[in-house]
């Protein structure tokens, strides 16, 4: 390894190292931005209280409510309809903790409340060159900005609150090159599922993935976030995409982004972040974007994927067989055509404006199948407002879908939004584990376009079939 050629990861690591690691002790890594939510923080605040410690840098902590919050409107008395008393208590506890420790909370009354990984970027709090953590594994999302961002446990949430630092060993570096052009009717979601299928659900364990190549450069910020979001599903510690003009254009003018002279200084710093030419990685792999097809999951982890029309592969072992049984999926037959009960458009993977637009485009002027219930849950209040300003809510409503309040909703199904046992859900979220969307629920991961097409058809369907009809109509 050439000493003076550094990767993006090297630069991020070096510039945040308070103390270098040794054989016997991990390094101390400084954290620039700490995102918190109601589920993984209460025990950390308790720990601080027990030890009589303050939050060291409340100015570096951002809190929001997302996981256990209802997505239904408030009742006539303005009360939030929580799934149970515990969920309400958890939200209330975060409100108390933030007040007592001086942490900024984007709570019920904030115009910026939303899924933690949607609001960070949206506020411009997520910036290139930062270290970002959250007690949530999909913190990898923020890597789309060239920030080192990863999920931590609650004990570590306490460490960061108390010291603004973490004990860490440097992960290995894995360059994933994707060259060429993504075919029409495919998106970052298809690419993500395609890549996880290739490298496996444990293929990234111990690594930070750096996505490189022309296909990555061509993605807009929302698509980059979708891709980085899913990298934890390959077991990766974090994901990175080098910041470029697309990144800077997205950030400029956002509420928490630097302004004026500070912006120029930041820009100079950000431009120096990408990996040096010739810097070396622990592992590299190349992919051709042209090989990506509309891709969905058919099993019970995000590595069991297939394209819409390809026959589902035969199970390779007992567990895959069990997964097919759980999913009521037959090998040898394609997934397309399988009856669908529920469609969920949302989650930190696919709940941004671009995702909603992509789905709405297919739904406009059509009705979803009568057997299907479709939930559309915007990622944040800001996304919700923007979508409403464009009339997307009307498109969804007119199509027969439910337009909900922002939150995690059916991605994790702990707020009362969930599928019944045995129901098949086409979901734009990130995990299809057994029971993730409710006990016995069967989840098929897909892009917003496939989700919308499936809602219309009442079975797993190809967006192409509706897109074509649309073009013909127009002609």
């Amino acid at each position: 390894m050439s000493a003076n050629k550094r990767t993006l990861l090297d630069k991020l690591w070096d510039s945040h190292q308070v103390l270098a690691e040794t054989k016997s002790t991990p390094g101390i890594l400084y954290i620039d931005l700490h995102l918190i939510h109601e589920v993984t923080s209460p025990q950390a605040f308790d720990e601080l209280r027990m030890r009589g410690l303050p939050v060291r840098r409340p100015d570096r902590v951002l809190a929001t409510l997302d996981h256990s919050t209802p997505t239904t409107p408030t009742d006539d008395l303005g009360q939030h309809l929580y799934a149970n008393a515990e969920a309400a208590a958890q939200v209330q506890q975060l409100e108390i903790n933030c007040m007592q420790f001086g942490v900024k909370l984007h709570g019920w009354s904030s115009e910026h409340r939303g899924i933690v990984h949607v609001i960070g970027p949206e506020l411009g709090a997520t910036q290139p060159g930062m270290t970002i953590v959250c007690g949530d594994s999909h913190t990898t999302t923020h890597g789309a900005f060239g920030a080192l961002a990863f999920g931590i446990g609650t004990t570590e949430v306490g460490h960061v609150l108390a010291t603004q630092c973490l004990l860490q060993r440097k992960p290995k570096n894995f360059a994933i090159h994707v060259e060429g052009k993504l075919p029409a009717e495919t998106s970052a979601k298809d690419l993500a599922l395609h890549l996880i299928g290739k490298i496996g659900v444990n293929g990234g364990t111990g690594y930070v993935l750096e996505f490189r190549g022309s296909a990555i450069r061509a993605l807009d910020m929302e698509q980059r976030m979708t891709l980085c979001n899913m990298s934890i599903e390959a077991g990766a510690r974090a994901a990175l995409i080098a910041p470029d003009e697309t990144t800077f254009a997205y950030l400029k003018g956002r509420p928490m982004a630097p302004q004026g002279e500070a912006w120029d200084r930041a820009l100079a710093h950000w431009r120096a972040l990408p990996s040096d030419e010739g810097a070396s990685y622990d592992r590299e792999q190349r992919f051709d974007a042209a090989d990506v097809r509309p891709t969905i999951s058919y099993g019970t982890h995000p590595g069991m994927v297939t394209t819409l029309h390809a026959p589902v592969p035969a199970p390779r072992d007992l567990q895959e067989r069990r997964a097919l049984e759980y999913m009521h999926v037959e090998s040898g037959k394609p997934m397309a055509g399988m009856p669908v009960d529920l469609v969920f458009l949302g989650s930190c993977t696919n709940s941004r404006l671009g995702d909603l637009r992509a789905a709405a485009e297919l739904l406009r002027g059509r009705r979803i199948a009568s057997r299907v219930r479709m939930l559309v849950v915007p990622g944040s209040v800001a996304v919700q407002r923007e979508a409403e300003a464009e009339g997307l809510d009307q498109v969804f409503r007119a199509a027969g879908a439910e337009w909900r309040e922002p939150g995690c909703s059916m991605c994790i199904a702990m707020n009362g939004d969930l599928a019944k046992p045995g129901q098949l859900v086409v979901s734009t979220s990130n995990r299809n584990f057994e029971g993730r969307q409710g006990p016995g629920a069967r989840t098929v991961l897909a892009s917003p376009r496939i989700a919308a097409a499936s809602a219309l058809a009442g079975c797993i369907a190809d967006p192409l079939q509706f897109a074509r009809a649309q073009t013909e109509q127009a002609a």
Binding site: V18, D46, S68, Q90, G235, M414, F433
Partner: protein, 194 residues
């Protein structure tokens, strides 16, 4: 954390690969603000039948698995979310060590921080333990050895610092706090950016 040096117990085996954190503790049990009592939800949807009675097919419900503090699990155990409720639930259930050929990053670090020994074994050793459930093992953390009933021995490695913390019962937050001067110096040196 109490020092943890040795463990002598029987093994319970969950041979399934990719056991994710939603299986270890389903999300609907995460609405708690404490960390106690999560053991009753460990592997909830796998462990109980629809009527709430224990599912006899779930390997940990097997009579021979009762009281076993060592869980031998299939490859890539603990993948999925960062919820520390997963190791909390396992510890409260009575598991003190998890052995697999691969353990997901965040789960492993959460486990070790809570005094749940998470050990990655070589393929051959792992296969042996999967094939021989309910055997007595003696785990010596300082020596990095697992002794089998027949006197055979497996060696294992864990991160030196994690081992030190287990053996001494080190409080990692305390350790970080000792470096407060370095942290302050780092912030100062970064000046306006920090």
């Amino acid at each position: 954390m109490k020092p943890f040096t040795r463990l002598h117990s029987c093994t319970a085996v969950l041979a399934h690969e990719n056991i994710d954190t939603d299986r270890i503790i389903p999300a609907r049990f995460l609405t708690t603000t404490g960390r106690e009592g999560l053991g009753r939800h460990a592997f909830h949807d796998w462990r109980y039948q629809a009527d709430g009675s224990p599912d006899p097919d779930f390997p940990l419900n097997h009579p021979a698995a009762q009281g076993c503090e060592i869980l031998v699990a299939g490859r890539n155990f603990g993948c999925g979310s960062s919820r520390e409720h997963a190791p909390w639930a396992l510890l409260d259930y009575g598991i003190r060590a998890v052995l697999s050929s691969e353990i997901a990053d965040i789960f492993r670090s959460n486990a070790l921080r809570n005094g749940l020994l998470a050990v990655v074994l070589g393929e051959a050793e792992h296969r042996y333990l999967l094939k021989h459930p309910h055997i007595e093992l003696a785990i010596d953390i300082a020596a990095g050895t697992i002794e089998l009933p027949d006197g055979g021995r497996f060696r294992f490695e864990i991160d030196a610092f994690a081992r030190h913390c287990l053996l001494q019962g080190v409080d990692q937050l305390g350790f970080l706090q000792q470096h407060a001067p370095q942290i302050a110096a780092f912030e100062n040196q970064r000046g306006a950016h920090a």
